[in-house]
């Protein structure tokens, strides 16, 4: 048992790519948590997918043992997701800590997620330990970064630590500083148990594992526990800590961080942010504050490329949801794409990750419709929630439509302010305020519709600022907006998968783009095919794919017949793979290409 005065719970927060995982590797080495021969890069980012994308999806908690001033300290390092899609998970991880190392790349300076994370950490009441990373880089500007960081945190420049996750320089000083300034956990070891679930995962053999921070009382290794938000109870099977591999312990006491094998098989019964207490009469009266259901922000239809894979897709989604409470899905039917699911995601990155895992881990080939936000259609007292653009009622049948807004924070070298204003204005943005971090760098706040961000906003931002601007955003609720549904018709038949809800002013442009794109993708048929875009009954764009006139083999003599027969058989198989919309045969690839989001907004991902 460690005395609470020698426990420190902390996390490292940083903009993507500022070297958090490499610094964590050095901490593992310095505290001998991992034997040298077992050390590998980005040790804590276990999953293949995470390693490839260079991001951390699932928070981890590692117990480090470090001797300072002759006393052994228990340091719990809680790794937090670094992406804007996962803000809520970040906030729960922060709630498990007393301190946060705010890490900034010496060559990049403060970026949008540095700010976002700083504000989250400060709002969570954490002690901030500012540190500059990558001081070994030839283009490191330690003095300027130190000045910026001190100004942000409100400390003296000399209080900002300088480290190199690569060489290990300054890492021991960083640990000493954490011990010196981050307060030890407070809490009542004798009170009723209250443990915060700040993450969970699913293990095929052991079921749902909860990552917990005990605030009050004691969590025994096996006990009947209760999840206060869901009211669920279970027989917990094992408590333990990550050191960094899972290691069982007798109990977790107030102030400590670890895991609990819950004995449950469904991750939905264990939701992040929930409070664990003991079942029976010793339960806590009040849960810990801050619980929230994860809310999908972006929706897309996922359809199996081969119609027969529907039940496999359902199984795969069920399996993924075991490990991903934020994933939502409901069955839907598309006239064009058959049976599939409308899926809700935290953001575009989350959507990409889910789609990639479905394809990679479950061997499915999928068609994803263009992502959209959730619209609220208000009719009198009634609010209809629309997740699929083709379900949007026709104009004139409702009072108004509301769409989700976000507050976007952009940090940029000041020379690019012009292009950024231009971009935000073109995306229906409203400037809230701006300020200079230094004469060279500015921070801009815009109110924008979320729908405008989820398409190619981030790529546009990057290309207009030569990659220097960074972006973060947070939800601002719903506002009325002049939105209309644009339908696409093939030979007079609406193709539900191509319907989209867009702002009225942009609808004709959108319709024209879709129609022109499809003209290139729809193969010529035996008759002229009209491709039209419409708003209600009004056609706003039209193209025609002229009827095919020639499809014949010029020569067919004795030596050609076998080969030509095989060509015809191939052509026949190709036809069987076409999807039929009314009388028009549309190849799979045309759907995929037409629905592709060319420059999706993946704020914060490495590219």
């Amino acid at each position: 048992m460690t005395d609470p005065s020698r426990i420190r719970n902390f996390c490292i927060v940083a903009h993507i790519d500022h070297g958090k995982s490499t610094l964590a590797d050095r901490l593992l080495e310095l505290t001998h948590a991992v034997a040298d021969r077992d050390m590998r890069e980005q040790y804590l980012d276990k999953m293949d997918l995470e390693r490839e994308r260079g991001i951390t999806i699932k928070a981890q908690a590692v117990r480090l043992t470090y001797v300072s001033g002759g006393a052994e300290h228990q340091l719990n390092l809680i790794d937090t997701p670094g992406h804007v899609d996962f803000t809520y998970e970040v906030s729960r991880s922060l709630a498990a800590c007393e301190g946060a190392v705010l890490l900034v790349d010496a060559a990049q300076g403060i970026e949008a997620q540095t700010l976002a994370n700083f504000h989250l950490a400060r709002d969570a009441g954490l002690t901030i330990v500012p540190a500059i990373n990558k001081i070994d880089l030839p283009n490191a500007d330690v003095a300027e970064t130190r000045r910026e960081l001190a100004a942000l945190v409100g400390c003296e420049p000399e209080d900002v630590l300088a480290v190199s996750g690569k060489t290990g320089e300054g890492v021991a000083e960083l640990l000493e500083r954490v011990i010196a300034v981050v307060p030890p956990p407070s809490g009542d070891r004798n009170g009723p148990l209250r443990a915060l679930i700040f993450d969970s995962s699913f293990d095929a053999y052991r079921g749902v594992i909860a990552y917990v921070r005990v605030f009050d009382g004691v969590l025994p290794s096996s006990a009947k526990v209760r999840y206060m938000a869901t009211g669920q109870e279970s027989e917990a099977e094992e408590a333990g800590v990550f050191a960094p591999e899972a290691t069982p312990v007798q109990k977790l006491e107030a102030g400590e961080v670890g895991y609990l094998v819950t004995g449950l098989k469904d991750v939905h019964q264990v939701t992040v942010g929930d409070t664990i207490t003991l079942a029976g009469k010793n339960h806590a009266a009040e849960p810990l504050p801050g619980y929230r259901e994860p809310l999908p922000m972006v929706w897309s239809g996922l359809y199996p490329a081969e119609g027969g894979d529907y039940s496999e897709l359902r199984e795969a989604l069920d399996r993924l949801k075991l490990n991903d409470a934020a994933l939502a899905f409901e069955p839907e039917t598309s006239l064009a794409l058959g049976f599939g699911f409308r899926c809700g995601f935290l953001g575009l990155l989350h959507m990409d990750i889910v789609k990639e895992r479905l394809e990679r881990e479950f061997g499915l080939e999928l068609i994803a419709t263009a992502p959209n936000v959730e619209f609220h259609v208000v009719r009198g007292e009634e609010t209809i929630v629309v997740h699929n653009p083709s379900e949007m009622p026709q104009p004139g049948t409702y009072d108004r439509v509301e769409e989700p807004m976000v507050l976007a924070t952009v940090i940029t070298p000041s020379e690019y302010l012009g292009p950024i204003f231009e971009l935000c204005q073109s995306r229906r943005g409203e400037l809230i305020d701006m300020s200079y971090l230094s004469p060279e760098r500015a921070e801009v706040h815009y109110k924008l519709p979320l729908a405008e961000i989820i398409f190619d906003f981030f790529d546009q931002l990057k290309s207009r600022t030569r990659g220097y601007a960074s972006l973060d955003y947070e939800p601002l609720g719903y506002e009325p907006s002049d939105l209309v549904r644009v339908d696409v018709l093939l030979h007079g038949e609406p193709v539900d998968a191509f319907s989209s809800v867009v702002h009225r002013a942009k609808a004709p442009v959108y319709g024209r783009q879709m129609v022109e794109r499809l003209k290139e993708l729809i193969p010529r048929q035996m008759f002229d095919v009209a491709i039209q875009a419409s708003i209600g009954s009004r056609i706003v764009a039209r193209e025609t794919v002229k009827a095919k006139r020639k499809d014949v083999l010029a020569k067919c003599y004795g030596g050609d017949i076998t080969r030509k027969r095989k060509l015809l058989e191939e052509q026949k198989k190709g036809k069987a793979r076409l999807r039929r919309v009314g009388r028009v045969d549309v190849p799979q690839e045309a759907f995929i290409a037409a629905l592709r989001v060319d420059n999706s907004s993946k704020a914060g991902t490495k590219s």
Binding site: M526, R549, D551, K555, C556, Y557, Q571, K572
Partner: protein, 366 residues
């Protein structure tokens, strides 16, 4: 059932960029060995074919006229000796206008090659250059004159339309010139880009534009109308003939009569079995010279394969397929839209239908 014999000569003066036939430039030194091998293969292959009534012989290539006249004569003599070739059998030889003169043509006619098929391709110099054909339009005119002078009364000209840069006007002029020369038979082929040819690679790299299918469709329609006016009967997708001059040998392929192929890469067909000789001339020579059959592969046609072939081959010729073969209702939309017509219990493609034959085949037999 009547049968045909095909003999393949894989030698050419040069390789044309669009051609994917089994043909080679620079192998002339193998010619006399090759002729000897053909004679030998005729011996090897003959057993089992003696009873077939052979109504056509076709010496194709490549460029058969690169061979010596004496060799070609000896070849036909050997075939007549080993097979039951009817007295009035159609005997065709393919010729490149640049490889024939009056003496050679007279020799061939005298040797029994009574039908001459010449690759004219185009009368437009720019189109010939684009096809990498070395001959000049004048040499076609000359060769045609000399063929007539030598006594040829059954001549075919091959034409190709849709080369990069060719416009409808050029094709119109080529057709009119071909008609003026008065051949008994005309083949007009839409240029097809084969990926494995030099031209195919140029198209892939974007150095050459692929043919525009709509322009080729216009060219096809123009051919139909001009050749029809000139008294040629359109009897197969790419073939026209004056009455009585349809190619007996090629009709054999489309009517699925048996054929025996001799020479490198030649295909044979009989009793729902198709087999083919090895393609490389050296390999062919080695096998035949050691007394072995030079067969490189074979397939047996399942009833479904045979049916598909029957439908797509018959639809190429104006015989069409019997209406009774086609599931009721399948033909109706095409009869209605004018791609098929029904004549005496047979479904026959119209001119527009011929252009969309693959679609018709898949719709009727798919």
């Amino acid at each position: 059932m009547t049968a045909g014999v095909y003999v393949h000569v894989p030698f050419c003066l040069t390789r044309c960029g669009y051609c994917d036939f089994n043909a080679y430039a620079g192998l002339d030194h193998l010619a006399s060995r090759y002729v000897a091998a053909l004679l030998r293969e005729a011996e090897l292959a003959a057993p089992g074919w003696e009873e077939e009534e052979v109504v056509s012989v076709f010496l194709g290539g490549g460029t058969p006229t690169t061979l010596e006249v004496a060799d070609m004569k000896a070849l036909l003599a050997r075939l007549r000796d080993r097979f039951s070739i009817t007295a009035d059998a159609e005997v065709t030889i393919e010729a490149n206008p640049d490889t024939v003169d009056r003496a050679k043509l007279a020799g061939l006619l005298e040797g029994g090659y009574t039908r001459l098929s010449m690759g004219a391709q185009s009368f437009d110099r720019a189109v010939l250059a684009s096809l990498e054909r070395l001959h000049d339009p004048d040499s076609v005119r000359r060769a045609m004159r000399e063929a007539r002078a030598a006594g040829y009364a059954n001549v075919n000209l091959d034409l190709i339309y849709g080369a990069d840069g060719e416009q409808l006007e050029s094709w119109d002029a080529t057709l009119r010139e071909a008609i003026d020369l008065g051949p008994e038979h005309l083949s007009a082929y839409a240029l097809t880009i084969e990926p494995s040819t030099p031209l195919g690679r140029k198209v892939q790299h974007g150095a050459v534009q692929p043919p525009d299918p709509d322009l080729q469709a216009d060219m096809f329609e123009l051919a139909c109308s001009l050749l029809g006016e000139a008294g040629y009967h359109h009897y197969e997708v790419s073939n026209w003939a004056k009455p009585g001059f349809a190619c007996v040998h090629n009709l054999g392929y489309w009517e699925r009569r048996p054929y025996l192929g001799l020479g490198a890469g030649a295909h044979s067909y009989r009793d729902e079995r198709r087999w083919w000789n090895v393609r490389p001339p050296e390999e062919y020579l080695t096998l035949v010279e050691s007394g072995r059959m030079p067969v490189g592969g074979e397939e047996r046609l399942e009833p479904s394969d045979a049916y598909l072939e029957e439908v797509f081959l018959r639809l190429r010729i104006l015989e069409g397929v019997p209406s009774s073969w086609v599931e009721p209702g399948k033909a109706a939309p095409f009869l209605e839209s004018g791609l098929l017509r029904e004549d005496d219990g047979a479904l026959i493609p119209t001119e527009r239908g011929m252009l969309l034959l693959n679609e018709l085949v898949l719709a009727l037999a798919g």
